[in-house]
């Protein structure tokens, strides 16, 4: 059964204008959700997916789904009580 996604963040071209890092964008998006809501992260950059996985593991954020569609990684994170 498909998960109910509250928001999608596409990181693929997130660094073009020298703004936030990919992880900063994910954390900000997660912070804006209610506890228990789900964030879908998409990116064609392996480094982004690697960083999100590493951070989620350290921060205790659950990755509910993870997959690869061609070159695009897709991760679904659940907003914990405290992100």
């Amino acid at each position: 059964m498909a998960l109910n996604i509250a928001r999608v963040v596409d990181l693929s071209r997130s660094e073009e204008d020298c703004g936030s890092t990919a992880l900063q964008r994910v954390r900000r998006a997660l912070d804006e959700l209610a506890p228990g809501d789900r964030l879908e992260v998409r990116t064609v950059v392996a480094e982004h997916a690697w960083v999100v996985r590493a951070w989620a593991r350290k921060a205790g954020v659950t990755i509910l789904e993870e997959g690869l569609d061609g070159r695009e990684s897709r991760l679904v994170l659940e907003r914990p009580d405290r992100a």
């Binding site: 660094e15 204008d17 392996a46 951070w55």
Partner: protein, 281 residues
């Protein structure tokens, strides 16, 4: 055509072979170490925090000579050490550190082609273990200020045929549609646009999809087509000088242009300064 100075660029494979070489110090230069180094880095790589280590926030300036000497000492570097830089955000901040290290005349500085992104893409080993090195006492050379453009010099260059200005920001920044991403309000400018006469060649046009640099032939064609040629003094700028450091590296070391200068004040200084002329379509 080969790169003019191929020795300044090392591949990920070369780095993997030299991670235990005591003559080599790997430095990961991050804009945000919390999003990068602290989650995993190359074995034996030390962290350099761009904001804390490479800048002086009180003066809004690059680190001073004494701060550079202290940084090198803390990292266990001697003047004879081979420094290999790489980092987050597509190697921009590693390139900025490279530029400052050359200002203080460290002899052997190299950039890892493709940066952190390529290393991870290749599935190479990372670690969270932070290495430690015996500290040293480092003495830097006289700063090479010819590598750095300041606002008066930029203003004096406008309209001079022998000087080429290259704006490496995105087209939206060049045209003035945006001056900075919303989350970086402190880097915004009062005005959008660009320095009169500047050519817009976004930094990313110098790299391939895996973030390694394009061939020398492709780079020469890219810059030459927009009038950025070796017979001219070239001044590169962006918003805070880090993307332009990447282009500075390309023009100076990969193409071997004789005079290439980075304007680190960039648009966050120029666009906010009273009385400076701008172009805005």
């Amino acid at each position: 055509m080969d790169y003019a100075h191929p020795e300044v660029l090392v591949s990920t494979a070369w780095v993997a072979e030299h991670q235990d070489d005591p003559r080599v110090r790997l430095l990961e230069v991050d804009y945000d170490p919390e999003s990068a180094y602290e989650l995993g880095h190359l074995r034996n790589a030390a962290a350099v925090d761009w904001k804390q280590d490479i800048n002086d926030h009180v003066r809004r300036d690059i680190l001073s000579r004494s701060q550079f000497e202290a940084l090198m000492g803390r990292l266990g570097v001697t003047p004879g050490t081979t420094l290999v830089l790489y980092g987050d955000m597509r190697n921009w901040f590693a390139a900025f550190a490279y530029w400052t290290f050359k200002i203080y005349r460290h002899e052997d500085v190299r950039l890892m082609n493709g940066g952190r992104r390529k290393w991870i893409e290749e599935g190479r080993e990372t670690t969270e273990t932070v290495p430690s090195f015996p500290t040293t006492t480092y003495t830097a050379g006289e700063p090479d200020l010819g590598l750095r453009a300041m606002l008066p010099g930029v203003l004096a260059s406008i309209g001079r045929a022998e000087v080429a200005l290259v704006d490496v920001r995105s087209p939206a920044e060049f045209t003035g549609e945006i001056t900075a991403p919303p989350e970086y309000a402190n880097e915004a400018a009062q005005r959008g646009g660009h320095i009169p006469g500047a050519a817009n060649i976004p930094w990313a046009q110098a790299v391939q999809e895996d973030d390694t640099f394009k061939s020398a032939d492709d780079l020469a064609a890219l810059y030459g087509a927009k009038g950025i040629t070796p017979d001219r003094t070239v001044i590169a700028y962006c918003r805070i000088g880090e993307r332009s450091s990447h282009t500075w590296f390309v023009l100076k070391y990969l193409l071997g242009y004789p005079v290439v200068i980075n304007y680190d004040g960039s648009w966050s200084e120029y666009g906010n300064s009273v009385g400076t002329p701008i172009e805005k379509p």
